[in-house]
């Protein structure tokens, strides 16, 4: 393996320290936001927003603006568009339409670009090992905003996600909750795309919380576990990528899927154990918590 001969000591030195720092921040935010993405059944939206925002980066590089600004603008506008269109139409159709419009623009921007920008290409798969120290501050800033916003809307978001109409009757507007949440997804996307890429942020946002919900029936613990699984996935992936020179994305994707698979197997095993201990009687027993 090409990178196999590197010293272990270097894995925490110099540019690698930036990678660990930024990846850790990204993993925490993805695990946290992802819990609600899975709870709300919004996986398609979590796929569409980062992929569509890629067009913003292409547009930004065309007019000579920082790609992160382009990403942010497209992510937020796309998220609001999905939320507002989804009010009247089926939300999966609205999401798909927003995605194709943005991808279409991305194709146009790329074709207008005189120079083929490898920077844009790296946005698809991320470049965590190439993260510079200047990226740490904006990543941390956006992370604080995301976590703070989720903390602020936590209870209405939970209520609205589970019992939308009941929440509405108690003054919790579903539209306002949806739009706030989508903006959080957009901000999370903006900060994470340059690191793990548009194609892979999705796997962190779905794999970790999808696995976590199998192990606990408590929302607070599921969120904590989701963040934990996300962190282990990202750290392991960076170490493995450093050691092997295979792309980080490969490891993030496979490990997320593996975590989810283990979670499902655990769920099935728990059902079996419950059936056995209940002696075939059907009554609502407590899950492991």
């Amino acid at each position: 393996m090409p990178g196999g001969g590197r010293g272990v000591g270097q894995v925490f030195s110099g540019f690698m320290l930036n990678a660990w720092t930024v990846a850790t921040i990204v993993a925490v935010v993805a695990g946290l936001v992802g819990f609600f993405v899975v709870l709300r059944g919004a996986a398609f939206v979590a796929h569409a927003i980062p992929n569509g925002s890629f067009a913003g980066a292409a547009g930004a590089s065309l007019i000579g603006v920082s790609t992160i600004v382009g990403l942010g603008v497209f992510a937020v506008v796309g998220a609001l568009g999905i939320g507002l269109l989804g009010r009247r139409a089926r939300s999966d159709v609205a999401t798909a339409l927003a995605l194709v419009v943005m991808l279409g623009l991305g194709a146009l921007f790329l074709s207008l670009s005189t120079a083929y920008a490898p920077e844009i290409y790296s946005l698809l798969f991320g470049e965590v090992l190439g993260v510079s120290s200047q990226q740490i501050a904006p990543t941390l800033g956006l992370a604080v905003v995301c976590v703070g916003a989720l903390g602020a809307i936590y209870r209405p978001l939970l209520l609205s996600s589970v019992l939308g109409e009941v929440g509405e009757a108690r003054g919790v507007s579903r539209l306002r909750v949806e739009l706030s949440f989508l903006v959080v997804v957009a901000l999370a996307t903006t900060m994470t795309v340059p690191v793990v890429g548009t194609l892979l942020i999705f796997s962190l946002m779905i794999g970790s919380p999808g696995a976590a919900r199998s192990f606990t029936s408590r929302p607070g613990r599921a969120i904590g576990l989701s963040v934990g699984i996300s962190l282990v996935t990202v750290w392991t992936s960076i170490a493995a990528s450093y050691a092997t020179d295979y792309p980080v994305g490969f490891f993030v994707g496979s490990l997320s899927a593996a975590a989810y698979g283990i979670g499902r197997a655990w769920s099935v095993g728990r059902e079996r154990r419950k059936e056995r201990s209940a002696g075939g009687l059907a009554f609502g027993g407590a899950g492991p918590s």
Binding site: Y154, R155, P156, E165, A169, G171, R221, S267, G284, G287
Partner: protein, 280 residues
Amino acid sequence: MDQLRRQVDEEILSVENVSVRLSGRQILREVGFEIRAGEFTGLIGSNGAGKTTLLRVILGLQAAGEGRVLVGGRPRSRRNPLIGYVPQKFLLDPDMPLRARDLVGLGLDGHKLGVGRPSRTKRALVDEMLRAVDAEDFADARVGQLSGGEQQRILIAHALIGRPRLLLADEPLANLDLRSAHEVVGLLSRISAEQGIAILISAHEMNPLLPVLDRIVYLADGRAASGTVEEVVRGDVLSELYGRRVDVLHVSGRVLVVAGTGDEDSLDDSAGRGRLEIVS
């Protein structure tokens, strides 16, 4: 609780001449009735009669084209703490990491911003509500994995924990087996009596409710007749409401509302076309 007792005669809900048109169709026509504290009222009507629309108007989820709704003597506002709402049965994700007790807790503070800290007071209140609906045995189970009747009880606890004066329940007996339906009716009736909470429950089938109903609001084609069961569930009253002849039959303790399906003014079971239709 003493305060509640003193206000037993108070009008909790007053629906005055409410009419609603939705995309060109007249859903409700000049519907009016009152509910007093502690009363158990059934909102009865077949599918499409306007029950859900009426409940949505009372909840403030649907604007009334004409007429008004007063809650506790005041025009109803959004986020009205006087009203608790138990939605129609729907499917909860069985894998969702949310215990029955978490859902009940959201009834208390789910509308507030922030994460909220666990407190002894809140836990005690949640336990009390779980006890009130006989849900202690499955309090720690995932709410999505409970049976229909169990979920219904959790949703009732969720609605009750905010100490409403009026509990609205949309078809809580639909999709429940006979035994669970009986349990839910008994539970609601007990809560109404013990806590002085008025209850308005919609149903397309009135028989399971007849033993506990103080009053009935009968909806047909968007029009309503209200009063005690004896006053409303009569051939002449319902015939006028339906605009055609219907009969009220008492068969071994059950009430059947029947109408001929033809245009004839009378029941006719001789021809094949004129079969009896059981309306409710």
